[in-house]
């Protein structure tokens, strides 16, 4: 009896529930339409407008009307050293911030992944930087923290012979990166902590019985287990941090010189200082394309993380 049942083919799974007419399906989706239209209006139309202007010569500080000038804006984008250096600085800032934030995040997550008195308080305090508005954080760092004369950092370093360092002038790029790290370490900690807590405890016990010490267990088992979480954190962090603007604008204003001018700030300068709408539009389009490339990798990684979760 059971054998016969086992041999019977499994029932076919209908992708579309039977008996739901075309009309009914439309009725179900109709309430989503306003959101879709809104999304198109606020994202796709501005993009199309940007695309249009990127082929125009259009300056706000002249009375000349906008006129089509082919791909010359794009030529400028790819030939001017300012764009390349801004691009390179974006890459350096993002990579340094994300990688260091991730290393710190893993370390903090490992420390948090054990029971101790006051863990809840410590966890909340550690997460706080992520909850602060980037602009507010930038202002706090630029003023009370890094001020050459009254800054907390100089005060704390004074006993070690460090006096009146103008961090934002002498170590501008480093200072901005530090603030980015400060703000993004909690995010990495949370993601890695979720990964650590999803590790089955009996695997760790098996490792103990198998004679692995704490360090070997971490290297051989925990780190491979965390890999998809670390990848996810790095990619999400990169997507956000490549667009960092608040800290640059408020702490260093892109300077000294162009020492902290990244892509978003360069774009901002093109519009607000050079009034070059066409050039800025072309830079924006190139930036979007580069971002899409990164985002595509990120989405693939998402898919991988979910596959991984399913398989385990």
């Amino acid at each position: 009896m059971t054998v016969i049942e086992d041999l019977a083919p499994p029932p076919k799974v209908e992708v579309r529930p039977r008996g739901v007419s075309r009309r009914e399906r439309w009725q179900r989706r109709l309430p989503l339409l306003p959101a879709l239209i809104y999304t198109i209006v606020v994202t796709q139309i501005p993009f199309l407008v940007t695309l249009y202007y990127s082929f125009q010569s259009y300056f706000w500080n002249t009375t000349a009307p906008a006129h089509f000038n082919g791909v010359s804006n794009y030529k400028t984008v790819f030939t001017t050293p300012a764009f390349r250096s801004a691009l390179w600085r974006s890459v350096v800032m993002t990579a340094a911030a994300v990688i260091i934030a991730m290393i710190l995040g893993v370390a903090l997550a490992v420390l948090l992944d054990r029971k101790f008195f006051g863990r809840g308080v410590v966890r909340t305090l550690l997460i706080t930087p992520f909850l602060i508005m980037p602009a507010a954080a930038a202002l706090v760092w630029a003023g009370p923290m890094l001020d050459p004369n009254f800054g907390l950092l100089n005060y704390l370093l004074a006993p070690f012979g460090v006096h009146h360092v103008a961090w934002l002038s002498t170590h501008a790029l480093g200072s901005v990166i530090v603030v980015m790290i400060w703000q993004w370490t909690p995010f990495m900690t949370l993601i890695v902590l979720a990964g650590l807590q999803s590790q089955p405890p009996d695997v760790l016990e098996a490792a103990k019985v198998d004679g692995a010490g704490a360090f070997a267990t971490f290297r051989e088992l925990t780190l491979p287990h965390l890999r998809p979480y670390i990848e996810l954190g790095i990619l999400l962090g990169s997507i956000y941090l490549v667009n960092v603007f608040d800290q640059v604008r408020l702490m260093t204003n892109g300077g000294p010189g162009t020492a902290t001018t990244n892509l978003p700030f360069y774009l901002y300068q093109q519009v607000n200082y050079a009034f070059d709408i066409g050039g800025a539009a072309a830079t924006g389009v190139v930036t979007v394309i580069l971002t899409i490339i990164v985002a595509t990798f990120a989405l693939r990684m998402f898919a991988r993380v979910f596959r991984f979760e399913e398989a385990v």
């Binding site: 695997v203 016990e205 098996a206 103990k208 019985v209 051989e220 088992l221």
Partner: protein, 362 residues
């Protein structure tokens, strides 16, 4: 190769909770297959984890091969453990899983490969399987890899925590005999935890029965079956379970189902010494012999479970006693509703103290 000793080992989880393991004294001989069995919450797994070093002791000590290991971390105890859910390392291949302990010991790669292959052969794991990840394996294969990981070590003691509970019934019976056979061949001291008394009886050289954190009895399977020291062991060992009925005492024996069952003199003496008016009588299902109308116990058949070789009769005895189960020959069982009588040998009746559950001399 080593003997294992628990000396008054205790583990208490909560401040006011009763101990999970209460002053356990147990000696496991070198090369012995010892099964810890008991219902859930009996402390059998905790006892095993104490031996593994995964659970600290609150009192007493644990020894492996004459050495006190109470405060020795798991990695220095030279033990191997098979976990209930196998706890394979998901990112490592089967071969890496099996060779992990050796890698941690710093065994060179060639030697590691050789020993992994040897263990794989012993467990019928073919070579291509060695390169797979655990998630690509079936439950039975995972179980064998977990066994393999333990064997490769050549440890002094094997610890197994319900390793068969995730397998289907047929595979479980098959693997049961394989593990017992493997243990006999390797001769490594083994402590095996299970809640399944059939596993305990078929695999163990000796079986330790635990209940509520206390050791009830530790003996060979045969001894446990023939001579349970108390009502708990009597009821736990044996399938179907022993029929246990509280019965009033009379001059010559115990009153059950309207008749007087004769009890051995020793039991009667013990009962009167304890000043008991009643006791718990236990009769195993196979000791209720069908006796075509001439038996002393009469009753009505409620249900017949035909197992093929034999049949189980659920019978309501005359009077208001609980139904009892009798094992009878399978070909011609009585039909439900039929009146039957049973004959019982006085020597086959176990008697227990109604309050403490202790066996009354017999």
């Amino acid at each position: 190769m080593a003997q294992v000793r628990y000396v008054s080992a205790s583990r208490v989880y909560g401040k006011n909770a009763p101990p999970a393991v209460d002053a356990l004294d147990l000696e496991i001989r070198d090369g012995e297959f010892m099964v810890l069995v008991g219902p859930s919450g009996s402390g059998k797994t905790t006892a095993l984890r104490m031996l593994a070093g995964l659970e600290p002791l609150d009192a007493g000590r644990v020894e492996i091969g004459e050495r006190d290991v109470t405060f020795v971390p798991p990695k220095d105890r030279d033990i191997a453990m098979v976990f209930q859910n196998y706890a394979l390392y998901p990112q490592k291949t089967v071969a890496q899983n099996m060779g992990f302990a050796l890698k941690m010991q710093g065994v060179p790669k060639d030697e590691r490969d050789r020993r992994v292959r040897e263990a794989a052969r012993l467990l019928d794991l073919d070579d291509q399987m060695l390169d797979r990840k655990p998630r690509q394996l079936s439950g039975g294969q995972r179980q064998r890899v977990a066994m393999g990981r333990a064997i490769v070590r050549e440890p002094r003691v094997f610890l197994m925590d319900e390793p068969l509970s995730n397998l289907d019934a047929k595979l479980r019976v098959q693997t049961r005999s394989q593990i017992a056979e493997l243990q006999r061949r390797l001769g490594i001291t083994t402590v095996y935890v299970t809640h399944d008394q059939v596993e305990a009886m078929t695999m163990g050289h000796r079986v330790a029965v635990l209940a509520r954190g206390k050791l009830q009895q530790c003996a060979t399977p045969r001894e446990l079956y023939d001579n349970p020291v108390n009502q708990f062991v009597a009821g736990f060992i044996g399938s179907p379970a022993m029929n246990l009925q509280t019965v009033p005492l009379t001059d010559g024996g115990a009153r059950l189902a309207g008749t007087v069952l004769p009890l051995p003199a020793a039991v009667r003496t013990a009962a009167s010494q304890a000043g008991l008016g009643e006791l718990v009588a236990g009769i195993r299902p196979e000791h209720l012999h069908l006796a075509n109308g001439s038996g002393e116990l009469a009753g009505e058949v409620l249900l017949v479970e035909d197992l093929g070789a034999d049949a189980l009769l659920h019978v309501r005895l005359a009077g208001d006693a609980d139904p009892v189960v009798a094992r009878t020959e399978g070909r011609t069982p009585p039909a439900p509703g039929q009146q039957v009588t049973f004959h019982v040998q006085p020597d086959d009746i176990f008697a227990f103290h109604p309050v403490t559950g202790a066996r009354l001399a017999g």
